[in-house]
Amino acid sequence: MLLVLSPDQDLFRDTTVRLLADRAPLSRLRQLQTDPAGYEPGYWTAGAELGWTSLLVSEADGGGNLSGDGLVDLSIVAYEFGRHAAPGPLVDTSVVASALSRHDGEALKAALGEILSGAAAACCMGVTPWQPNRPATIDIRRDGDQLVINGTARPVESAGQAQYLLVTGNAAEGPTQVLTPKAAPGITIRPLKSLDVTRRFAEVVFQDVRVPATAFVGAYGGAADEVARQAQVAAVLLAAESVGAMEAAFAMTVQWAFDRYSFGRPLASYQALKHRFADMKSWLEASHAISDAAAAAVSANAADAAELVSAAKAYIGEYGVELAQDCVQLHGGIGVTAEHDLHFFLRRITLDRTLYGTPGDHRQRLADMAVGREKAA
């Protein structure tokens, strides 16, 4: 989380926190665990009114940001989403909105309008350039003035709630992205079980789904750069979100260490435990630092953006989970129960680690970049 917020960012953060505390407190999220969307009606549109959906969208398209760095602004929302274990399709909708804002086309802009207002949610799939061992599973081919989509994608966040799907698939000419309404015939959505009880994931199956050839996002067969960009945006948001969840889990556990007594002393008085808190604090501060650095770099399209994104995903993925599990350990038995709130954050951090590249995937990318540079030198 940024050390210094502008007055605008501060206010925005504040209103976001108030909305989350009001509409999605943990007590409410507990009740919504089995709800298909995971949030109450009106929650998402209220967030959209605050600006959650518009930060990555140009003013010409009806969006706008606070600081000139829309992704940095949005990372504040993502951080608060993590800190509150908030529900809703923040990551996917943001990725799709930013993609639609970068491209022209009447259908795209119409969809963008619905997304901005919160009337529609969107999800994206097949954007896994960081998982070379899991090849793309969707094919797109041209048939006259139509495109035909076949294949399966999973996990897709919020596919059940979304009205629009941004599909990344392989065409003979190269990676291609198309936007399709979920209502198109031939699309089947099957909910998946997930570690996180506040977010929803599904498998999406395309069987000869036909969309008009005007639905491209970017060029037919030429979506590689766009896809890479989208993946960076998603990774930045997931990293910020995980840092927020780490912060919440840590704060909760520090408080517990003061309140819980053993052998007539608070847990916080045992050096063996104090040192573990100190280690966690260093992981947490390091995670803040790399998450903010990645957001700023991607927002500015900096030369080191790809490296910082991978460092953030690799580090936060690994140490976020270590921190959360250590918090569980320091809670003792209550830590592995659903009664305590800690599990919301453990779940969030753990699932985020698996999305858009695991720490191992990102270490491979960092090595590719480091070795590539070495060979070039």
């Binding site: 808190f277 280690d279 090595a367």
Partner: protein, 426 residues
């Protein structure tokens, strides 16, 4: 002073461009002695020290020494942003690596905080010119973590002080010029109440300097024996028996270490080297660049590098602005120690069988084994990582202090281990 305040400060980017041009013409590539601290003989080590002094002089003559030091003492009076720009421009170049720590910080930093006007005028410009190398006489044979438990004694004799005792682990004392020395001036009050800090000339009668051989063969570490060393009262830093006021800031500056805005160093070039391209070089030399396990380790080393760099930036921004606790440098120290240890292990792992035995001309791989043996030094020098953890838990998180046997007791009555030879004064 008023002239300094009225003049507009040079724009950082303009400064950067000026620095870039100057560095391009004046600072060459790093040499072996800049990265490795092991020397087969003293003559070679002294030559490296002389070279560092010359590099500092070059910075001074070029108008780039002491970027954040006040102009009254020969500095440029600019901001941490200027220093960072300069360090970034210096990336991949030679720089006076032996002067960064402890000369510029914590020593010069402590002088700026507590020195008298006369002390600052005498020493700061000399430091900026490369004429003075400073050391820290802090740790003692009886213990280094409990810094305030110093038993080296100083007794007043007219307008002088007479110092007796021993200090140890002093990096570079045998080729250094001056040191800050923490000594006990009152044994009848509690530990923190009876300390005083002095400036001590390292080469003088009564101050014997021994050498300690480290695991890697380096003899940079020294042990000093002080016998009736006389120091004028004008070389006292801070008030008598107020040494812990100075000591607290001293420890702070020490934990900030290379991240201090007072330090000029090539960005990314930490003395012993960083995780990259060092680990990449080790992998290439061993023909392991395409091995998937090696790639994972390279990625991990690279992650720690990038995260460490941005953590230090966050601390450098957050501490002065008050957004982060003043004790936060302990977080950077802890992270840095643990990351360095892991990176040593990674290099050792990548080098595999080549790390245990080597020939001098084996390239970067020749150093890997020794660095691994010396691995834990990164978690000791500058205060151990355990002490950093205490600081984080107790000062930042507000957890209860450890029980101790030395509070509210006259220091002479504090229990001491057998190795602590207190030269108790009446």
């Amino acid at each position: 002073m008023s002239a300094e305040m009225n003049e507009p400060i040079e724009d950082v980017e303009a400064f950067r461009l000026r620095a870039r041009a100057w560095i391009g013409e004046n600072m060459g590539p790093p040499q072996r002695g800049d990265l490795v601290r092991y020397y087969p003989d003293d003559a070679e080590e002294l030559a490296a020290v002389t070279r560092d002094r010359g590099l500092q002089r070059r910075l001074y003559d070029g108008g780039f020494a002491g970027i954040c030091f006040p102009r009254a003492y020969g500095g440029l009076g600019l901001t941490p942003a200027h220093q960072r720009a300069f360090n970034e421009e210096l990336a991949g170049r030679e720089f006076p690596s032996r002067l960064t720590v402890p000369t510029f910080t914590p020593c010069a930093a402590v002088l700026l905080d507590f020195g008298t006007e006369e002390q600052k005028l005498r020493h700061i410009p000399a430091i900026l010119r490369g004429d003075e190398i400073w050391c820290q006489l802090l740790s003692e044979p009886g213990g280094g973590s409990d810094v305030a438990g110093a038993t080296t004694s100083a007794v007043q004799d007219g307008d002088h002080w007479v110092i007796n005792g021993s200090k140890v682990w002093t990096s570079g004392a045998w080729w250094g010029d001056y040191a800050l020395c923490l000594a006990r001036t009152n044994w009848h009050v509690s530990k923190h109440q009876g300390l005083t800090v002095f400036i001590v000339k390292l080469h003088q009668p009564g101050l014997e300097i021994g050498r300690i051989e480290r695991l890697d063969g380096s003899t940079e570490s020294c042990q000093e024996f002080l016998t009736d060393v006389r120091v004028p009262d004008s070389d006292r830093v801070g008030d008598v028996n107020e040494g812990w006021v100075v000591g607290t800031r001293w420890m702070f500056h020490e934990r900030v270490g290379h991240n201090s805005p007072l330090v000029t160093m090539a960005a990314g070039a930490f003395r012993g080297g960083s995780g990259e391209p060092y680990v990449v070089r080790i992998a290439r030399e061993g023909g392991q660049l395409d091995d998937p396990r090696t790639r994972d380790l390279i990625g991990e080393a690279r992650t720690l590098d990038l995260v460490g760099r941005h953590l230090l930036r966050r601390l450098a921004l957050g501490v002065p602005s008050g957004k982060l606790s003043e004790h936060s440098p302990a977080v950077g120290r802890l992270f840095g120690g643990i990351a360095a240890v892991r990176q040593s292990t990674i290099a050792f792992e990548i080098a595999g069988g080549a790390a245990g035995t080597w020939a001098e001309d084996d390239g970067a791989t020749a150093d890997v084994g020794m660095r691994f043996l010396m691995r834990q030094a990164a978690c000791m020098g500058g205060g151990t990582t355990e002490i950093s953890r205490n600081v984080i838990a107790e000062r930042m998180l507000g957890m209860p202090r450890e029980p101790s046997m030395d509070r509210n007791v006259a220091f002479r009555d504090v229990p001491r281990g057998p190795r602590q030879t207190a030269t108790t004064e009446a």
